[in-house]
């Protein structure tokens, strides 16, 4: 089972929920909630990865991730311009009697390599970030990607994280998605069985929740909501969820103590163990919805 945790608006508590859900599943490893033992948590917010600050994994491997960009052998190149013609991203241009490559514009699609009539294009990986894999407390498997500073493309890092850090058979995977509703979120959430939306009861939270729900619908995913900082703002988020038939699976009240502990990099379950049964219920509700949807 793959559970994606997303929100639309940033800073609503995605990582708070994802990390505590992971801890809860680890504590219930072997039970029906998490039959294959502790879960795998993938932090897909590669622009601002934070889950490791809470779960403090010991890293076992770190390796570069990149985009395969064309390299042209000038000896065989006739400067026919076919590569520049097929490139949809203007990453190749004919300058004088040769081809100029603009690696930072390249999406790594390989279209130029396929199109070159002389077969003189090879590809070299241009690193744009790193992936890390490790083990966190209670045996949680942990993976994250980190986009390098100054690099624009988050999507390839997310894609490779999901391809290269694999779950054991039957292992529950929790995907901590980036904020927003555009391509990085879609890349993180695609292929999941359930979309858990963490929101806050404010007009800003509602606006972005509405967009996130549309992403969930477009991907055909069952959804549920967690309302964080409950008590601030108004009840418009609750009414929206009722109207849309999205179950509110958990409410976390706004308390300075919770905010403070989270600020210090401590998980909700660690500092407020009274939430353990509620996270168990949350995991059970998700499991039932996923099975119901199948």
């Amino acid at each position: 089972m793959r559970i994606a945790v997303a929100s639309g608006k940033g800073g609503t508590g995605k990582t708070t929920v994802a990390t505590s859900l992971a801890l809860c599943l680890a504590a219930n490893g072997g039970s029906a909630l998490s039959p294959a033992g502790p879960p795998l948590l993938l932090d897909c917010d590669v622009e601002a990865p934070n889950a490791h600050l809470f779960l403090r994994p010991s890293w076992e491997a770190v390796w570069p991730v990149g985009i395969p960009v064309p390299q042209i052998d000038p000896a065989g190149c006739t400067a026919c311009g076919r590569c520049a013609e097929v490139c949809a991203f203007n990453a190749l241009a004919i300058l004088g009697s040769g081809v100029q490559v603009f690696p930072e514009l390249c999406h790594g699609c390989g279209s130029c390599t396929l199109a070159c009539p002389e077969g003189v294009i090879t590809e070299v990986v241009r690193p744009i970030g790193v992936l890390r894999r490790g083990t966190a407390q209670q045996g949680i498997d942990f993976g994250h990607g980190e986009l390098s500073i100054g690099e624009p493309m988050a999507v390839p890092v997310i894609r490779e994280l999901k391809r290269q850090v694999n779950a054991r058979p039957g292992q529950v995977v929790i995907l901590d998605a980036p904020p927003g509703t555009s391509c990085p979120v879609v890349e993180a959430v695609r292929g999941s069985d359930f979309l858990l939306l963490v929101t806050e009861p404010t007009p800003f939270g509602l606006h972005d929740l509405r967009l996130a729900v549309e992403v969930g619908h477009a991907l055909g995913l069952p959804m549920g909501a967690v309302i964080n900082r409950d008590g601030i703002g108004d009840d418009s988020v609750t009414r929206f969820c009722e109207n849309k038939g999205i179950p509110v699976l958990m409410r976390i009240p706004f308390e300075r103590a919770i905010a403070r502990d989270s600020a210090l990099g401590r998980t909700l379950l660690e500092t407020h163990p009274e939430y353990a049964p509620r996270f168990r219920e949350l995991a059970g509700d998700i499991l039932r919805q996923v099975e119901g949807a199948r």
Partner: protein, 313 residues
């Protein structure tokens, strides 16, 4: 013309609340400056919730191309599936189709298809608007959910805002940026005269602050930091201040945690308009005065001075 961009790295630190309050002060405050406003957080555009704009113009935004397989012409050779690196081709028996959400628009399948059964079609992935808000002209946009190419849309709204500001003789542009450090952020920030980075005293906020400061430094954008919810966790606030000091970056304001900010948001108003004596409003007024002095008037900040000299030279 000066461009001020509000950034954060981590989401939810208070970018939009601060932008709205600055827009209000620029319009109605004691040291007003007519600004053109831009919401560059195009996949979660919420500035209009507090600026109450009237839309004057509405335009489609074409993101990029999407491949489409014409099933009549397709002879089911499967080459498209083989060449696509984005898992965007789906096969059901002898039927092949494109998943538009996964399609990168690269055209590899289009160029390789031996039956020429694939077409590339431009796809409208959002809309952008020219509006008049209660605090000045606003250029904003809405990328459709699951849309792509947010960086290109950000560039477009910034260009439109520049034209508008020249037209209306606004001395400045105020840009509400997206979270993160990737493509829409780079598009929102490059070429800005000043980046105001809003952070909060949390472990996650600190971590992401370092990454966004690295990004503004990479693109040589003069940067100030605003510490929001500054009194919530004093020991982490002290760490944020140390980090900034070490990097030689000035903390230009400290906004206390203040429930008036949420109350104002619920009312659809900037906090400075909702309650100008609220602790957060007073802190934001001081930040605005620093911006006026540093960016629009007598330069009191050395970084901006340096920038002015560079512009003159």
């Amino acid at each position: 013309m000066k461009q001020l961009v509000i950034l954060s790295g981590k989401g939810g630190t208070g970018k939009t609340s601060l932008t709205a309050a600055l827009a209000h002060l620029a319009h109605d405050g004691p040291c007003g400056v007519p600004l053109a406003l831009v919401d560059a957080d195009v996949d979660a555009a919420i500035l209009d919730l507090v600026l109450a704009p009237t839309r004057l113009e509405e335009h489609d935004f074409v993101g990029g191309d999407t491949a489409r397989i014409d099933s009549d012409g397709c002879d089911a050779c499967g080459l498209c599936l083989e060449v696509c690196r984005f898992e965007a081709i789906r096969q059901t028996g002898r039927h092949f189709e494109v998943d538009p959400m996964a399609c990168e628009g690269c055209g590899a399948c289009f160029h390789q298809c031996p039956a020429q059964a694939i077409r590339m079609q431009p796809r409208v992935v959002g809309r952008w608007f020219r509006s008049e808000s209660r605090y000045g002209p606003l250029i904003h946009a809405a990328l459709f959910p699951a849309g792509e190419n947010s960086g290109k849309l950000v560039t477009l709204v910034r260009q439109q805002a520049r034209c508008l500001a020249l037209d209306r003789e606004c001395p400045g542009i105020l840009i509400d940026g997206p979270p993160g450090i990737g493509c829409p952020v780079i598009s929102a920030a490059t070429g800005a005269d000043l980046a105001l980075v809003v952070t909060e005293p949390t472990a996650a906020g600190m971590h992401d602050l370092e990454r966004i400061l690295g990004t503004t430094q990479h693109f040589a954008i003069p940067t100030w930091v605003v510490l929001n919810k500054a009194d919530l966790v004093p020991e982490v606030s002290a760490q944020v201040m140390d980090t900034c000091q070490r990097k030689g970056i000035e903390i230009v304001g400290r906004i206390p945690f203040d429930e008036a900010v949420t109350q104002a948001m619920v009312r659809g108003e900037p906090v400075t308009a909702f309650d100008r004596r609220a602790p957060s409003s007073l802190a934001i007024l001081q930040i605005w005065q620093r911006i006026v002095a540093g960016l629009f008037g007598g330069s009191i900040d050395t970084r901006v001075e340096r920038l002015d000299r560079r512009e003159r030279a």
